[in-house]
């Protein structure tokens, strides 16, 4: 009698508990990446920590809405970016018309005209651009451009994933990425060739 098969309901509950643990383990495996991106979307470490905790709280609560086998990383980052918007961290949404430098060679040309072509060589780049200036330049970019630069160039997402995360068409991702990268180089040029 004691060896009787567990009731279907008990089996269902046990299976669900296993699925949930598996989901949580997998989600926690992305924590470092989630933090890294969050840190560049907000102004301080504390804000980034809060944002990551809110992201995981929401993810864990709504784990049933995740479809196993789909892109969990993109799913998590979508929660992150939505929360970032919800919390009003971004400046009022500006149109995609950030005044921009003319060209993609802008920073290179500025550096080269100040210090010669050799300053463009790999080992010289670090001399000209400090870590602080890169971080500052990133935080100066308008949020809708920065989000894409952070997702693609720091978070390593494809255009398609970034489009899914931000809920915008892929063409918008591409144009914001181009603009965001140019804006970043514009800021870096202002710092490096002051």
């Amino acid at each position: 009698m004691g060896d009787a098969e567990p009731a279907p309901e008990a089996r269902r509950i046990a299976a669900e508990a296993r699925d949930r643990v598996r989901f949580e383990e997998e989600a926690l495996g992305f924590a470092d990446q989630v933090y890294r991106v969050a840190r560049r979307l907000v102004g301080s470490r504390e804000e980034a920590e809060d944002l990551v905790q809110e992201t995981y709280a929401r993810a864990f609560r709504s784990w049933r809405s995740y479809t196993p086998g789909t892109n969990m990383r993109a799913w998590l980052f979508r929660i992150l970016t939505n929360l970032n918007v919800d919390r009003g961290r971004r400046i009022q949404r500006a149109p995609d018309t950030q005044p921009l430098v003319e060209s993609d060679y802008y920073l290179a040309n500025k550096l080269a005209s100040a210090g010669g072509e050799e300053v463009l060589d790999q080992e010289r780049v670090v001399e000209r651009l400090s870590q602080d200036s890169v971080v500052r330049a990133l935080s100066d970019i308008q949020p809708q451009f920065r989000d894409v630069v952070v997702l693609v160039d720091i978070g390593d997402f494809t255009y398609a994933d970034a489009a899914q995360i931000l809920d915008v068409p892929i063409g918008t991702v591409m144009s914001r990425l181009h603009r965001g990268r140019r804006a970043l180089k514009q800021r870096l040029a202002e710092e490096a060739v002051a």
Binding site: A31, D104, D121
Partner: protein
């Protein structure tokens, strides 16, 4: 209006480095880069810059945060 070769190469740079050019555009950039030190240097610079931004901007998760996230496990949907 036809662009000057270096302007055209500049226009292709982002997509070249993102590997999203068509075969024809890729060939066009490669052909120009093979003969143009000016553009080659700028492409290399852009590649270095991207790597530099990636490593510079990457800040590791503070110790203790993972523990806080672990504590959130099992949160109820109604909580």
């Amino acid at each position: 209006m036809t662009l000057e070769p270096c302007d055209r190469c500049e226009e292709l740079m982002q997509d070249f480095l993102d590997r999203t050019l068509t075969d024809r555009e890729w060939q066009e950039a490669e052909t120009h880069l093979a003969d143009c030190e000016y553009c080659r240097r700028r492409y290399r610079f852009e590649e270095t810059l991207r790597k530099y931004v990636r490593t510079t901007a990457a800040e590791r998760m503070p110790p203790g945060l993972l523990g806080k996230l672990e504590e959130l496990r099992g949160l109820d949907a109604t909580a």
